[in-house]
Symmetry: C2
Subunit: 120 residues, 2 copies
């Protein structure tokens, strides 16, 4: 069960980072931080066909970044910040682990330095 | 010049997120947060050929996450946290923009509510 959770989590991270690895998809996420928007409005500034935009939106939905709802003939998209948090937390944890290591290394070097002074 | 910088920045983000969209590459980054390591040591726990590991390392190097140096016959890899920061900052900026929007929306709803009470 724990292994299954780890695999699910890993696949969620695959999808999240994959979704962000494209400038059009990042532009859509950026646009949706301002307010929810219908697909047609998201497509307007983008230099591509509506089906191409829909495909990018499908990748963002699969990654959990975007939720959409259809009302009549209009599909409205909104940002779901949980997937952003997941990706952010993964990076943040690695960066802070690395910084802790640097701190420990710094402490160790300071100790060596102090011992050198004590002995010299 | 500004457009060129933006494009370079965008391509750096493409490469950074693409590099993180793979569980093996994330495992290598995780391993390197602990200490620098030779390629052979990084390859040992991974269920794949050495050339396959080298290919993942090349992707991580192109994204700026890893730097490597050859000394004699041993290539040692170490983490370069700048690319981690770049990717983290992009996500963090989007998430906080979104949270600011929610705060503004909350303020607006509170005002509407207050006006309703004042009028009722």
């Amino acid at each position: 069960m724990i292994l299954k959770d780890m695999l699910n989590h890993s696949q969620a991270l695959d999808r999240a980072f994959q979704a962000l690895a494209d400038p059009t998809r990042r532009a859509i996420v950026e646009r949706l931080t301002q307010r929810p928007a219908p697909v047609s409005e998201l497509a307007r500034p983008l230099a591509m066909s509506l089906p191409a935009v829909m495909q990018h939106l499908a990748v963002l939905e699969a990654a959990g970044f975007v939720r959409s709802e259809k009302s009549g003939r209009v599909r409205t998209c909104q940002l779901n910040p949980e997937a952003l948090s997941l990706a952010e937390q993964w990076i943040e944890a690695r960066r802070s682990e690395w910084e802790r290591r640097l701190d420990r290394l710094g402490d160790y070097l300071a100790t060596l330095n102090q011992q050198g002074e004590d002995n010299g």
